[in-house]
């Protein structure tokens, strides 16, 4: 039992570290595409770690299922919204290129 708690603590700390690195990326990267990259990758990994950490402290089957469902939905949503944002940004860049010529 104590082992599970320690494992959970490890995952929660790991998640927090990934969140910090993703925020650092968001603040420090030069343009929107790079910043999105930091958010989409590190954030989802961080959320996964946090959810694993919380799952290890759960003893109810349905709670565990719901937690994993939250992670899955977040992965899907951030992938989709990342794609939509990136498409929008690329269109804007193409428009600016065309205006320069």
């Amino acid at each position: 039992m104590i082992l599970l708690i320690w494992l959970s603590n490890l995952f929660l700390t790991l998640g927090a570290l990934f969140f910090i690195s993703s925020v650092t990326g968001l603040l420090r990267f030069p343009d929107t595409l790079c910043r999105m990259h930091a958010l989409a990758k590190a954030d989802n990994l961080a959320l996964g770690c946090v959810i694993l950490g919380v799952v290890l402290r759960q003893d109810e089957f349905f709670a565990v299922g719901k937690l994993f469902l939250i992670w899955g939905v977040t992965l899907l949503s951030s992938a989709t919204s990342g794609f939509l944002l990136a498409r929008r940004i690329r269109r804007g860049m193409q428009l600016r290129e065309a205006l320069k010529k």
């Binding site: 939905v73 899907l76 949503s77 992938a79 989709t80 794609f83 939509l84 498409r87």
Partner: protein, 311 residues
Amino acid sequence: MTPELLIDLILSISLLLLAMVTLRQRTPGDAVIQLMIFGLLLALSWLRVQAPDLSLTEAAIGPGVTGALLLASLRRIGFHRPFPPPASLPFRAAASLGCGIVGVVLSWILLQSWDRPQGLTELAYQHLPESGSKNPITAVILNYRGYDTLLEIGVLLVAALSVYTLAAPVRGKAVKPPGAIFRLYLRMMTPLFLLVVPYMVWIGGYAPGGAFQAGALLSGLGVLTLLGPRPWPIQLRRKLLRASLALGFILFLVVAVWTWRYGDFLTYPPAEASKWILVIESSCALSIGICLTVMFAGCAGWLSEEREGFR
């Protein structure tokens, strides 16, 4: 200083700072984004004061639905059009003074009840068995002060009807067709939404959840479908659309009048209470969802009588 107190302090200070930052943005687009972040932090603070019901609603309505409504309206107004110059100094001073007075009075009222933090909690728990709900929040919202919720649903209906009436045909360029990834996302999420919305209504009977949260989720599905290839909420038959807009309010009113014979407006007998609450909750969830979806469509300019379809 305990860690909890530290988190609360950071949360309240960042809320205040974010509110100021939001007010000082130069373009509407930036201000809306800041407001959405503010709403997320506000949802977190509701969680800190042990109000998960409010937190859920705030997270869904604040950054979610309101954010979508504002962004949809901005699509027509322009994200980068700068705000008009601020009002004159005396006007701003008077406004600040007024807000300050209201704030002081509210804080004074709060301080008056500082030594009685329980308020009506005990009374609410005492009558829980006869309220027809195991969740005290649902009992308060739909039983103890049902008339208040009835009026809220009415206000929402009036708002949706105003948007519906004022809906102008879309100006400017139409939305680009959604990509394959978005279509796949929509196809995967729709069944999940259709599962979670009734679950939200049902869980409201004994845990955080209920009509407002379910309605907000349903409107999330509505907004996604409006952006997708087949925007069925707008292609619905007009009569069907109007009926589902008003269904929650009308059913609520009918139940209110029907239960009058048990003594008072909206007083259910304990044996039937849970049945009536479920009827009201499910119809209101549908109406709230459709109302918010219609408001989104109206704000985006996709809701005009001349055009039956969309785009």
